[in-house]
């Protein structure tokens, strides 16, 4: 091959790349949504739950955080049919990714909840608020604000990790790349383009999340 790069062949396949990109964005979006909800529930269970709930939450988090995403995706991919659940590859990938993100998010949110000083909670108790009222009005927003940078990093990592779903044939961006590569044999060029696209996505997502924090934690002046 020498030193001549043939990027044109890659750009000719831009439709395929675009489809892959759209799915990557879709996977990222749905995973963040479900993963955050799972993470919040697990975090609440690990801080406020019964002993059994706390243990279950701890087990879930440790199991996911100490095993590779690739293996988790394989387990979900082969495990769901074995309990009779037959799904398309995209929902399967979403489930696997969301279970993964949920564990990391739970850890982050738990740290956020525990970072709220007991004195704040006592002020709520002294006013006569219930535990759930205290959580909603006194703990949740400051906790989210405290851990927002960690959440941002985790979500960006997740977006990049959607590439692993290519290994269970989810047709996202990385998978699209490997298809183009097998057709055009322009291996290096394909993955260079893909790398640049991911880099751009990472920057964009960071910007989006930064804007989001400005909206969420805005000081409302009346």
């Amino acid at each position: 091959m020498g030193y001549t790069f043939h990027f044109r062949d890659v750009f000719a396949a831009q439709d395929a790349l675009l489809h892959g990109l759209v799915l990557t964005l879709q996977l990222t979006g749905t995973t963040i949504l479900f993963g955050f909800v799972i993470g919040l529930c697990v975090a609440v269970a690990s801080v406020y739950g019964s002993t059994g709930a706390k243990r279950a939450a701890r087990a879930y988090v440790e199991l996911i955080r100490n095993t590779p995403l690739l293996v988790q995706l394989f387990v979900v991919f082969f495990g769901l049919p074995s309990i009779g659940v037959k799904l398309d590859v995209i929902p399967v990938a979403t489930i696997g990714l969301a279970i993964n993100l949920g564990a990391y998010t739970a850890e982050i949110l738990r740290a956020g909840i525990e970072s709220i000083p007991r004195s704040q909670v006592e002020a709520g108790i002294a006013l006569g608020l219930t535990r759930s009222q205290i959580f909603r009005h006194v703990v949740l927003i400051p906790a989210l604000r405290n851990v927002y940078p960690s959440l941002t990093s985790q979500f960006i990592l997740l977006m990049l990790a959607t590439s692993v779903a290519s290994q269970i044939a989810a047709p996202e961006l990385f998978y699209a790349g490997s298809i183009i590569q097998s057709r055009t044999y322009r291996d290096f060029e394909v993955y260079t383009v893909i790398a640049v696209v991911y880099l751009a996505l990472a920057l964009l997502l960071r910007l989006l999340l930064a804007l989001g924090s400005r909206l969420l934690f805005r000081r409302r002046r009346r």
């Binding site: 004195s119 704040q120 006592e122 002020a123 108790i125 002294a126 006013l127 006569g128 608020l129 219930t130 009222q133 009005h137 006194v138 927003i141 400051p142 604000r145 934690f217 000081r219 409302r220 002046r221 009346r222």
Partner: protein, 243 residues
């Protein structure tokens, strides 16, 4: 009937007995100041009265509610008992108005407009009406503490508890807070204060308690207490503090 009644109250932290056996009776309109060394149990006593701390034995009745009984509805009680903390504990993500309206709107299901009006009145009471839309980190310590008092007042409590509320303040900010307390006392609010401010206690309190080693070591009217202390421990304490 006494507003607050303690009978042989005992409080333990593990093996450490903080309150050995406390008996106390507080009538409506009384203003009781509690003084003593750190570790004597005075803050713990206050925190037991609104149920922030549990007691191991004895009886604690506040406004008819048996606080020591786990079946009691402490939430409803706390809405009637105001508590102001040493470190004010304002909610940093809410402005002053929302800090004050949170209790009435959520606990008393008050419509927001009515709660906002209540907040305005409470703030006027403590002299900070113009700060209604400020955020806690924009206020001085003394201002934050006064907002904390307004936050408790907005719940229309029948009794107010103050846990060393000037101890964390810079000296020049203490006066503005004490002035608010004094005006509340004049209006007939029932108050229980843990404090180091001896002059204030002498001037404003109807009764003063000296806590030592987990019991009420000595008590009396403000004048008798400070002018003629009966026990040696109180004499020593006053000697070291008033110098």
């Amino acid at each position: 009937m006494a507003l607050v009644e303690l009978r042989s109250v005992v409080k333990r932290y593990g093996d450490h007995i903080v309150l050995k056996s406390v008996d106390l009776s507080l009538e409506k309109g009384e203003i009781i100041a509690i003084i003593g060394r750190s570790g004597s149990g005075k803050s713990t006593l206050l925190r037991c009265i609104n149920g922030l701390e549990s007691i191991q034995s004895g009886e604690l009745l506040v406004d008819g509610v048996a606080v020591h009984d786990s079946k009691s509805d402490l939430r409803a009680l706390r809405a009637r008992v105001g508590f102001v903390f040493q470190s004010y504990n304002l909610f940093p993500h809410l402005d002053v108005e929302r800090n004050i309206t949170l209790g009435p709107t959520i606990v008393k299901s008050m419509p927001y407009q009515k709660a906002a009006e209540l907040a305005r009145v409470a703030l006027r009471r403590v002299g900070l009406e113009e700060k209604i839309h400020a955020y806690p980190d924009e206020l001085s310590g003394g201002q934050q503490q006064r907002v904390a008092i307004a936050r408790s007042l907005a719940m229309s409590p029948s009794i107010m508890l103050f846990d060393e509320i000037t101890s964390a303040l810079d000296p020049e900010l203490v006066g503005e807070v004490l002035r608010v307390l004094e005006s509340m006392a004049k209006e007939g609010m029932t108050m229980l204060l843990v404090t180091h401010e001896m002059n204030f206690a002498r001037r404003v309190a109807t009764r003063v308690l000296f806590m030592n080693e987990g019991v009420i070591w000595e008590q009396g009217t403000a004048a008798a207490f400070f002018e003629a202390p009966k026990t040696e421990e109180l004499r020593n304490f006053l000697g070291s503090v008033l110098n």
